[in-house]
């Protein structure tokens, strides 16, 4: 028996040998003829979080995907034949530890990473400003990127907003999406384009309970109750005008905290009321597994991506779902919310700055963004993203939201926000969901007190 099982296991291993990665023979440039740009020489080491280097199969469509290695061979290598690019592929898991080590030891010149990591590295002096390179390079137009993330994000700009250290490459999608079918079942009018927290709460309350048509349990609203960056909380602070703090991340010890203001009380009151409406699992980010799909039972999802619906459309051409799940702007006054962006950055001690800049510039260019969108469904960061599929309304909405985005001190780049405010707010949500919400004013007074002590300790 043991021998047979061993034989079976060995055969499974042998018969599932990796397919060799060979050239796809596909066009990656959209028909554009690639010509040599420069004979500049150099070697650039690029550390990429999460990119796929080899050709593979798109799990959504079953089509071949072109890995970055082939893409670079067909494009950059022809444009800059004397620049050698070494690509290091790093999975997102533990990427911060790996890239931090690479920056400290001088093992990487250009990095693609998470926005929060980039911001921290910049503050730690591990990254280089790009302003001089941008100024010198007439072929680079910073105006092609969405203003909200190019000029108003801690992931690309220094804490005081005066220096540019990152170029946005991939956008995070966070928007309000509602289920038109459930709205119709309950006889509730759809959300307006810039639905306020009050409108969302009012409509969500109406749609929590037994669906009048199907008899199934429905939930009015959903958001991730244990979000590591508190994105929904950020959107609410924008909506209610609760700034939370004044000052600059360049001088964190001088930040003036305003965490117990009447506006912040409104934010917490909203969370307290809304916490009664989602499925119980929302406090651990569970319960919305079917949102965006046929079996959905949640009317409104905050900070949602539309990914599940779009996946179904791409895989099965399911237009019904696409019509059913409608995105609107986020909750801020202009429709803004917290916008995540993953940039390309350059190491402070990059070996070959000029060659590194050419690589960085190329990897954030519209051509590369088209390539990453088409092959890996990454959301672009440029204004004229005309390659986005006409049906992909979620990406278009994300671009609209990003365009009006701006950075505030309630942001993951703020150390106290990440270490104390987010866990405290998530704890509050958890207690509110079980009907044991603490006294809001007292909760905020304590948070304010902690924040002031934190700042005082830094002085």
């Amino acid at each position: 028996m043991k021998k047979w099982l061993l034989l079976l296991l060995s055969c499974t291993l042998v018969f599932t040998l990796a397919a060799c990665s060979e050239g796809s023979g596909k066009d990656v440039t959209g028909g554009v003829e690639i010509k040599q740009v420069s004979d500049m020489k150099g070697t650039v080491r690029v550390a990429l979080a999460g990119w796929q280097l080899d050709n593979g199969i798109n799990a959504q469509t079953g089509n071949t995907t072109i890995g970055l290695t082939e893409y670079m061979d067909k494009t950059f290598k022809k444009m800059y034949p004397n620049i050698k690019v070494e690509l290091y592929q790093i999975p997102w898991e533990n990427v911060k530890a790996k890239q931090t080590a690479m920056l400290m030891s001088g093992d990487a010149d250009v990095l693609y990473t998470g926005g929060a990591f980039a911001s921290q590295w910049y503050q730690d002096g591990l990254l280089r400003d790009l302003d001089d390179l941008i100024k010198e390079d007439t072929s680079f137009d910073p105006g092609i990127y969405l203003d909200g993330i190019m000029n108003n994000s801690y992931s690309t700009k220094s804490p005081d907003g005066s220096k540019q250290f990152g170029i946005p490459a991939v956008l995070g999608r966070r928007m309000t999406i509602y289920d038109k079918k459930l709205f119709s079942d309950w006889g509730v009018e759809g959300l307006t384009e810039k639905a306020t927290p009050e409108e969302i709460l009012e409509k969500a309350k109406k749609m929590t309970g037994k669906n009048p048509k199907t008899g199934e349990q429905n939930y009015g609203v959903y958001w991730s109750g244990n979000s590591l960056n508190g994105s929904t909380f950020v959107a609410l602070t924008l909506a209610f005008g609760a700034k939370g703090a004044e000052g600059s991340l360049k001088d964190v010890k001088s930040i003036k905290w305003h965490l117990n203001t009447p506006e912040m009380v409104k934010v917490m009151e909203w969370l307290k009321e809304a916490a009664k409406l989602p499925p119980a699992g929302f406090i651990t980010a569970q319960g919305a597994e079917n949102f965006g799909l046929e079996k959905n039972n949640i009317a409104i999802a905050l900070d949602s991506t539309g990914g599940a619906t779009m996946n179904e459309f791409i895989a099965n051409n399911n237009k019904d779902l696409l019509d059913r799940f409608e995105p609107v702007m986020n909750m801020g006054p202009k429709g803004e919310g917290w916008v995540a962006v993953d940039p390309f950055v350059m190491a402070k001690n990059a070996k070959d700055v000029k060659a590194s800049w050419e690589v960085l510039k190329f990897l954030t260019s519209p051509m590369t963004q088209k390539y990453t969108y088409e092959n890996f469904a990454m959301t672009p960061t440029i204004k004229q993203a005309d390659f986005v599929k006409p049906e992909d309304k979620y990406v278009k909405k994300a671009l609209d939201i990003a365009n009006v985005g701006h950075s505030e001190l309630m942001d993951e780049a703020n150390p106290f926000y990440m270490s104390d405010i987010v866990p405290a707010v998530n704890g509050f949500i958890s207690k509110a969901a079980s009907g044991n919400a603490p006294d809001i004013q007292q909760f905020l007074d304590e948070l304010q007190d902690r924040a002031e002590k934190w700042s005082a300790n830094l002085k």
Binding site: T16, L17, A19, G56, Y88, A101, M104, V170
Partner: protein
């Protein structure tokens, strides 16, 4: 017929209620342990679950297919990563076991001055969390030019303090008179170790192989830090690569397929060494 029925009834009577309760509890325990594994296998063959995981879980795939395995093996060099993991594991096992056995033997039988202090110092290195030492360790290997080199696994493996402790405790149980007799017969220290004591160490060697193999096979952070060239990556890094777009885009059935394949070597090792598994837990007090 009557006789058969009677004997069946008799047999039923012989099983006490406590045994039934124990059997039910054990069955439930086994069921709870095996359900995630079965769910993984079922999902790994479900092409329909490649984009969104089916919830609640199903006992049969919605779209049964082995294409999930094809995607897993095409997108990531799974086979190469498994081979890499085997190379790393084998090297670490050899280096660590040998180092632990030799040091354990020395501490137990050679009785030199300061032996207890040496053991204490070695054990104290286990109190320092890896997260504290990983960046300095990385910088050291970077300066030595040993990044992207499997020596970055084998050299730290020389310090296997827990193995030293285990081996010393094991050697303590073996009579010192064996060494004395061999020395009287003219044997050198390495001959005593290799010819007299080592053949008696099968249980402790098996224990160390199991503990080291599972530890190294599942290791993620250190390989990720020291390896740069994707061709040298280990299987755990390979599995982590199935998460795209800042962790947002998951492909459940593809990840499950890759995970199922990655478990094959573990199952093979388990089958070869299963009679030592319980013994290793008893000897070391560790269940991995």
């Amino acid at each position: 017929m009557i006789q058969t029925a009677d004997s069946k009834a008799l047999r039923r009577k012989k099983i006490p209620v406590s045994q039934w309760i124990l059997a039910i509890v054990l069955f439930l325990g086994s069921f709870i342990m095996i359900v995630p594994f079965l769910w993984m296998l079922v999902t790994s063959f479900d092409w329909g679950a490649r984009l969104n995981i089916t919830f609640p879980p199903k006992i049969w795939p919605e779209e049964p297919s082995i294409r999930t395995y094809e995607v897993a093996f095409t997108n990531i060099k799974m086979f190469r990563y498994i081979i890499n993991s085997i190379i790393v594991s084998a090297g670490v096992i050899v280096v660590s076991s040998l180092s632990a056995l030799l040091s354990g033997y020395a501490l137990s039988k050679l009785r030199f001055k300061g032996a207890s202090l040496v053991l204490l110092l070695a054990l104290s290195t286990m109190m320092i969390p890896f997260e504290m030492t990983m960046i300095p360790q990385y910088l050291l290997f970077s300066k030595l030019g040993l990044l992207d080199n499997y020596l970055a696994f084998y050299l730290p493996a020389l310090n296997y303090a827990f193995g030293t402790f285990l081996a010393k405790a094991f050697f303590d149980q073996l009579p010192s008179s064996l060494r004395e007799a061999a020395i009287l017969d003219g044997a050198g220290e390495f001959t005593v170790f290799g010819r007299v004591y080592l053949p008696l160490c099968t249980p402790i060697i098996a224990t160390m192989i199991i503990l080291l193999f599972l530890g190294v096979w599942n290791e993620m952070l250190w390989p990720l830090l020291v390896l740069k060239n994707a061709a040298k990556y280990t299987i755990q890094i390979g599995l982590a690569m199935f998460t795209y777009n800042n962790g947002i885009n998951q492909q459940p059935s593809i990840i499950m397929a890759a995970t199922a394949v990655s478990l094959i070597p573990v199952v093979v090792v388990y089958m070869f060494l299963q009679r030592y598994i319980i013994e290793s837990i008893a000897l070391s007090g560790i269940k991995q």
